[in-house]
């Protein structure tokens, strides 16, 4: 299967049982799917579950894809629904390993973060452990839908209209979600910015 095949050709080939085409299709999107799941769930294990389940569903149901919307939208509907279900069901694990390898052995990444200095460059001072902690707290306090809208807009760079399409809601509802999240962030991070 040539790399230059366009997406519709790949999808049709995959619908016809061409495993190479399916694999190419997966590779076009799997990194962003995994990134979205990992950022939302902050757990490698949960992100791996979402990845696996999403692409198995795509594989199973690809014959039903009728090109009524873009493949990206179809795939993201599956992924966002799975993530929303998981966010609703599970308490997201909080801590990931923070150890970095140095020539002096293992060191805790958090302990190596730059300290917040009032007289320093404010842009660099923002990247402090305390600030990350606050951001994480706000993210964890959001409703699953708020969290999803924020993730898709801020980190995935999707327009609010596209987010509405993917989440099966209106642009206005997505806009309100984003508005609420930025309000919460502003309150929580006010001291830093």
């Amino acid at each position: 299967m040539a790399n230059s095949l366009d997406e519709a050709t790949l999808i049709r080939a995959a619908q016809g049982g061409d495993q190479d085409a399916f694999e190419q299709l997966v590779r076009q999107y799997d990194q962003s799917v995994l990134k979205l799941a990992y950022n939302l769930l902050r757990s490698a294990e949960d992100a791996q579950d979402i990845y696996q389940e999403a692409f198995l569903r795509v594989h199973k149901n690809l014959h039903q894809f009728r090109f009524d919307c873009s493949f990206h939208t179809w795939l993201y509907r599956i992924v966002t629904n799975l993530c929303l279900d998981l966010l609703r069901k599970r308490k997201v694990r909080k801590e990931e390993a923070t150890v970095v390898q140095t020539s002096d052995g293992e060191k805790d990444r958090a302990a190596m973060m730059p300290e917040v200095r009032g007289d320093g460059d404010p842009q660099r001072a923002l990247v402090s452990g305390a600030l990350r902690g606050r951001i994480r707290q706000v993210l964890e306090s959001l409703t699953p839908r708020e969290r999803m809208v924020f993730e898709l807009r801020h980190y995935e760079g999707l327009r609010l209209r596209a987010i509405g399409e993917k989440l099966g809601t209106s642009e206005e509802a997505a806009k309100n979600c984003l508005f609420r999240v930025t309000q919460k962030m502003r309150v929580a991070l006010g001291d830093f910015v």
């Binding site: 997966v26 990194q31 992100a47 198995l56 390898q101 730059p114 300290e115 842009q123 984003l178 910015v193």
Partner: protein, 306 residues
């Protein structure tokens, strides 16, 4: 264009910074902000908040994508094997009713899963399965009449084995360390090349990966691979360069530590000393700053530029 108030700007701020305001509202907001210092500061603060949120994004663990792909492949193979065995059962059902196909003795119906939908003769499959590790054969079905169905999952994967110092093998590793699409693979390749940095082509590839790879984990691994060349001036200049330019603290820590593996004054030239002095002014992390100061002391240089 109507005159807008500061309250209105405050309400529209998040949509403005995300570029989601209609053009007319955007123009109104900018017209108001042009003459309002308080609103300019609000917009600047919102942008700083965005920058902080960008910085807080969690990078994907290096091996996660590769592990996900591997697990998905296994699941798809299992699914394909299951489907094939269903076809196998259908085939044996029809064979049982057709007198010409009636078995004269026990016959083995072999289903090879996930063979890329390519037809293999039973003889070819038997030969292939005879070479397979016994642990990978599965008994799918067995009937009292002596018929068995054995499955062996095969993929299209090709595996070559060889020593890392073999030119052809090393060529593959060198290609992958800078070109593999996912960071997990590039990181593994950098680790595999760790003991080979005495070769100039390996050193060069690791230097490129350490300076240019988008993943900090890969950059750290590539840097580790350069330990045996940490005494050479060209490599040391590259370490100082990374120290000055890399935004990741782990990379900067690794770079300064490697620099300090060789602590004699002659190992620091004027360019490196200038770079370290620059770091004394800019670096915010106390550990990296202390290591830079240590290096400058060894080099008999002042930690500051007067």
């Amino acid at each position: 264009m109507s005159q807008r108030s500061c309250d209105w700007v405050r309400e529209q701020l998040s949509l403005y910074v995300y570029g989601e305001l209609p053009m007319e509202s955007e123009e109104s907001l900018e017209a108001h902000a042009a003459g309002c210092a308080a609103c300019q500061e609000l917009i600047a603060a919102e942008r700083r908040m965005h920058a902080a949120l960008d910085e807080a994004a969690e990078p994907l663990p290096a091996h996660l994508l590769m592990e996900c792909r591997r697990a998905l492949q296994v699941s798809l193979q299992a699914e394909a094997a299951r489907r094939e065995s269903v076809w196998g059962r259908l085939a044996s059902f029809f064979a049982a009713d057709a007198w010409i196909w009636k078995p004269v003795a026990a016959c083995a119906l072999l289903a090879a899963g996930f063979s890329g939908a390519k037809w293999h003769s039973q003889r070819e499959m038997l030969q292939e399965m005879a070479q397979a590790p016994a642990g990978e054969l599965r008994l799918v079905r067995s009937s009292p009449g002596g018929e068995v169905e054995i499955a062996y999952d095969v993929t299209q994967k090709r595996v070559v084995r060889g020593r890392v110092d073999d030119e052809a093998i090393r060529g593959l590793l060198l290609r992958a360390v800078t070109n593999a699409p996912d960071a997990g693979t590039r990181g593994q390749m950098a680790e595999a090349l760790r003991g080979q940095a005495q070769s100039d082509d390996v050193r060069q590839a690791l230097l490129v990966a350490a300076q240019k790879d988008p993943s900090a984990e890969v950059r750290v691994k590539a840097l580790s691979g350069l330990r045996s060349r940490a005494g050479e001036m060209t490599t040391r200049r590259a370490f100082v360069n990374m120290l000055r330019q890399d935004s990741d603290l782990g990379v900067r820590t690794q770079a300064v530590d490697l620099l300090l593996l060789h602590v004699t004054p002659g190992r620091f030239d004027a360019e490196m000393i200038g770079g370290l002095q620059d770091m004394m002014r800019r670096e915010e992390n106390s550990y990296v700053r202390a290591q830079c100061q240590r290096a400058l002391t060894v080099a008999n240089a002042s930690p500051f530029i007067f």
